[in-house]
Symmetry: D2
Subunit: 423 residues, 4 copies
Amino acid sequence: MTHNLNIFENMESEVRSYVRSFPTVFTKAKGYKMWDEAGKEYIDFFSGAGALNYGHNDTVMQKKLVEYITSDGITHSLDMASSAKAEFLTKFNETILNPRDMDYKIMFPGPTGTNTVESALKLARKVTGRTDVISFTNGFHGMTIGSLSVTGNSMKRKGAGIPLQNVVTMPYDNYVDDQDSLDYLERFLDDSGSGVAIPAAMILETVQGEGGINAASFEWLQKVESICKRWGILLIIDDVQAGVGRTGTFFSFEPAGIKPDIICMSKSLSGYGLPFAITLIKPEHDKFAPGEHNGTFRGNNHAFITATSALSYWENEQFEKDIKVKSDIMMNFLEEMVEKYPELKGEARGRGFMVGIASDVDGLSNKIAAKAFELGLIMETSGPKDEVFKLFPPLTIDEDGLKQGLAILEESIKATVKEPVTN
Amino acid sequence: MTHNLNIFENMESEVRSYVRSFPTVFTKAKGYKMWDEAGKEYIDFFSGAGALNYGHNDTVMQKKLVEYITSDGITHSLDMASSAKAEFLTKFNETILNPRDMDYKIMFPGPTGTNTVESALKLARKVTGRTDVISFTNGFHGMTIGSLSVTGNSMKRKGAGIPLQNVVTMPYDNYVDDQDSLDYLERFLDDSGSGVAIPAAMILETVQGEGGINAASFEWLQKVESICKRWGILLIIDDVQAGVGRTGTFFSFEPAGIKPDIICMSKSLSGYGLPFAITLIKPEHDKFAPGEHNGTFRGNNHAFITATSALSYWENEQFEKDIKVKSDIMMNFLEEMVEKYPELKGEARGRGFMVGIASDVDGLSNKIAAKAFELGLIMETSGPKDEVFKLFPPLTIDEDGLKQGLAILEESIKATVKEPVTN
Amino acid sequence: MTHNLNIFENMESEVRSYVRSFPTVFTKAKGYKMWDEAGKEYIDFFSGAGALNYGHNDTVMQKKLVEYITSDGITHSLDMASSAKAEFLTKFNETILNPRDMDYKIMFPGPTGTNTVESALKLARKVTGRTDVISFTNGFHGMTIGSLSVTGNSMKRKGAGIPLQNVVTMPYDNYVDDQDSLDYLERFLDDSGSGVAIPAAMILETVQGEGGINAASFEWLQKVESICKRWGILLIIDDVQAGVGRTGTFFSFEPAGIKPDIICMSKSLSGYGLPFAITLIKPEHDKFAPGEHNGTFRGNNHAFITATSALSYWENEQFEKDIKVKSDIMMNFLEEMVEKYPELKGEARGRGFMVGIASDVDGLSNKIAAKAFELGLIMETSGPKDEVFKLFPPLTIDEDGLKQGLAILEESIKATVKEPVTN
Amino acid sequence: MTHNLNIFENMESEVRSYVRSFPTVFTKAKGYKMWDEAGKEYIDFFSGAGALNYGHNDTVMQKKLVEYITSDGITHSLDMASSAKAEFLTKFNETILNPRDMDYKIMFPGPTGTNTVESALKLARKVTGRTDVISFTNGFHGMTIGSLSVTGNSMKRKGAGIPLQNVVTMPYDNYVDDQDSLDYLERFLDDSGSGVAIPAAMILETVQGEGGINAASFEWLQKVESICKRWGILLIIDDVQAGVGRTGTFFSFEPAGIKPDIICMSKSLSGYGLPFAITLIKPEHDKFAPGEHNGTFRGNNHAFITATSALSYWENEQFEKDIKVKSDIMMNFLEEMVEKYPELKGEARGRGFMVGIASDVDGLSNKIAAKAFELGLIMETSGPKDEVFKLFPPLTIDEDGLKQGLAILEESIKATVKEPVTN
């Protein structure tokens, strides 16, 4: 049976969005490829907005998941103990925390990014007894009221229908030309007449995905950590999108050498695209009472199975090395594009597999992404004016697939910059 | 491999809760039964707090899910169109909406109860341009800041770490003896000097699960609907726990004959315990802009597959009739218990498969539930003082299983009321 | 020089209000009489909305004030020490606090009612560490954001332009027919699932002036006090309008025998209509740091002079007795009116010199007040729909003046109820 | 009768503050001199924190006020029309608004600075339909919750006991070395992902008094005005302290050539130290409904009388010229002090009669002010760490008085810098 898009137009709320950018009905996917009902094949440089870092339907995980299901393994268990959960905890500790000398308690806050962010904000306020949180320009942390409060996008904020409170936005790295954004932040904290109280926490992404592929420098991150320490502020890293290898290491902040107080993870954590999230908490901050934060789907055993399997990728150092090689190919390609097509007025941005080109030409990035879709490449835009087209292939893509995708992208750029731009 | 509970104590945050009430490691489940790693069998009168209304690992859904996975069906697709989603939309319309003469748009707000509640609150505020929402005493709607604002429990509210705003709590049905709670509500709305503004919405559960199995009368629900209409207030029914058959009909409000403006559904919607939620919106209120509310896991294709399959149960009228028969068995049993064990100081409460006994003896309900667990019956308590022990078997339980569970429960009551109570 | 009303229309903001109800230019006043520029004489049953309880330009105070001014007495002194302030403090203690066995610290929070209310709310929150305050339906406490939050009137609340927070409104005495409003309040406080947190304070007027001359019973006030004690909630009595003798005793709550934690006073406190306010605080709650609440006009020495003089009235017991006699005349008159003019659909309300008739006929009270003005009697309306016409003569009015005013009022009633009512 | 300070210690709340800095009981004052009960004479370089710009008990105003009182002129009239009010309106228009080509409606918001600020904030929110207001670091606008929200001082903010909302603080002129503070502001407004919404208003003082005598440059003020225009933001100038000649012109912003949307005035407006405030509103923003903001003391007729008289000073151009001459004397003196006493680590700041020295030595400014008091000069400190000693003599001081005061100040500086500093 094939379906047409009318079903979605007729039955689904106007809030639907990606179906508008990618107007076809998908049916199958494997690795870095997707197929629609008409049988058309697409290369996926979108990866579920970072939820499919290991590609679609990874064969090993798929096998383990099917075995688990057919053996009547527990599916849903709230936060009761299950064998699948025990194995995830054990493997996460062995593969991720221990080798990085990280001592953290694990909280299951509900299965989505916004669940982990909300749990982190609540905990930081409880631990410190303070109400304000400092977020950063163009941060994106989720759509529930707590997370939306620390999200920068004005359209999304207005969607709240109420004033969003208890938050102060500070400038992210490189926000104003030639001004060190942390000088500004420190001045506010240092001055008791500034109107900005010492906050419970700062929350930030090390590379801002939705905000336009803005990568903070490692020095900036280190200085943020030291400011937090100086003032007794909890540092929350939202690694929902940048984590799980997207920037080249399991945690995005590893190369900066910092140790956040709280870490938010979701998206690719299950490895298979299943809803799953955790909040990592330094033991000294593990102060929630039993059940003080809860949720029906905080234990998704299917996700435990695939997540445990996915962690095996990180047992082999070669995995990170391969990411690095492919990252370099992408960044070189992007820099080449910027130079070769000056009509782009482009700037290459990002790190690892979280890269893109910001174009100063209004509307151009969206046109390029639309053209790419037409040519069989799935890719989205981001940034406050959708000025950036993002490259988010699966980490597991092979070089052939990568080059094939980049070739389609160049074709899309070329075709688009030649058109007269009309908005 | 068997695991012990130390793993959870050492690695999981103090916030963990059900693992404390049910201290064993579960490994397998089918229908209304669960097994732990030691092979002990349990009867499940908990059903994942209402997320497993069709029992564990339903054989038909299991088969369809495995087929889908092995065929490389799309797993994760944000809100792109997929065949699995098209089929869910179509079947939901045919099986649920059309036969009930309900015209609603469907929103995928993220996969959990709190996601759908947050989307409903945001939408109501946007549509009306008002900020306040009326919630009801002992309501429970979720743990993210928007949903927590409309949740009554003081321990959970304090967990927010910030004052919760833009909400007015009104008394639920039968809140104060001999006083009609809606007289009170109407007086506040009618009086321009009351300090209570006409709100964007009222949000309520028709039977309060976490709040202590309080069932509103149909007359009360009808009057709430008419008050909402009179004042142009949107009526949001949170059917996350009471919906999907838990009270005997697909929507809990069907027997009251009301048509809410917005309906929140999750928990048992996937049929299989997978994270999944929808928000149903009357077409005239479908006013979100594209992407104004979004989320990574708003399209969980595994859940589409099982949810579509689960809807088949509702094609046969016998399903509702069977629920009714078994409901009556449970309620009769509970009333018998209240009479037979006056030490309980008990009151039977609820409707359908959402029933329990409220005991006036401090701490007694928790003791009964603990005893039941020991004897192989899984059951939880609720209410502001955990004064209610809840019976939440799967709807699909057979009469044998039901009676077996009730027998264990009676044994637990008997054993407990004989002990001297010490707190 | 005489002025016309155009000056006000042209130059004053649209927010002006009493100039619309009393459209003439006043120039002189003495005792209970006022004169406009045309020489027309008015009897004053308005008393500056309770700010002129001793009438206009009291001769003794006038003399002392002029002596003070001509001797170059300090006029403005923030909260420096001045002789005039020392004398006020001494006399207030001797005349008011000591004889009533009241031990309170005196705070000068700025010279208006809203200043004292804001200081009380801030202090209660600081002392208890809680954020919420319980206010009551139809309470009126001022127009700055803190005070406006606890004010019931919806038109005034909307004037804030922001959602008003940290407040829960509870029903005042007799709010819903046949329901004891404190049953609701206690139920909410007692139930940890009610969504209503234990507040920092309750704030209320013993007789609501702007809210429609609603007088709480002494039993109700006593029960409120005992609820506050039980829960460790601070009781704030806003005696700005009902205090300084308006209800027959210096503090309005004296006959109920309660001892509020914080008392707000202003309006008639200066005795002469000068801006002046104090906040009385039980010593154990006197926890502001020096300067934590301040304000330029918190020491108005002219007001100290007249306020000290005004306190002499309270040295003679005959003063309260005279008020009682005249109060009875007024209440008898009002009850007679209600009976004699059934067209009023009236109800006599209030206590002491704070009385009026609530009419069930839409718009009638405003018409009566307008007619009275025409006939030389100044009087205003109150209540959420302006349904009450208020009698607020000076306490010092003689019986002749009182009867003259009542005669005009009856004439106004008679003339108005005979007109066909058109809104 | 003489009083001692015990009365204040025993009876007044701990919140009292200036009585601690100036520990004596004042009794008389004239022009720039004050006397205490012991007959000691003081030179007043404090001027009631800017409320006595024309000195104490100005002889002309004194005479008019006494005449008015003795003639039984209306004292209190809420916002009824009175002859005294008509004359104030007329004279204010003729003397102040017309000659400056300013078209504004006049609102009487209650008699204090915080009343006018609250009215301005409410109006701006109502007019624009937006909730946020931008304030600036170290701004000071009052102690009621609305005004406190836009005040920077952290000790005062904590006094609120609740989180202060709907406000974003931006850096005042010269806040961070070598960074143009308006670059930040514009970047935040321009970027739809910044998390900072376009506000209803910006509120600022042109010279920050309490904040530490920070004077914004005229260019900065002009740029703020143009940013407000560009974004449709209302510009509110809080001229409560800097207005009425304190900086050399009637409005402090005159030399910058800007026309604020709303102007807040109080303090010296009555001319005599009486509580009085107005809000000036561009006619197109005059959108309050009648009575939407009100208050008992919004018409203080004594203040109308003295304010009208005070305006005569501004009829003669010589008045401004004299201020200029004396300002220059003060600034030259301060710069000389900085140079002559390097131990001060001082910086001369301010404009007009609103000047001072910021000392980098912790606690030094407070010591100098204390020494000056001992030597007969009244003077206070300001700034987040009380690091500035302020010179605020009356504008009407003669050169002799000024030099006498400066001589005492130098003596105080000299004596203090020689002491070993111990905190």
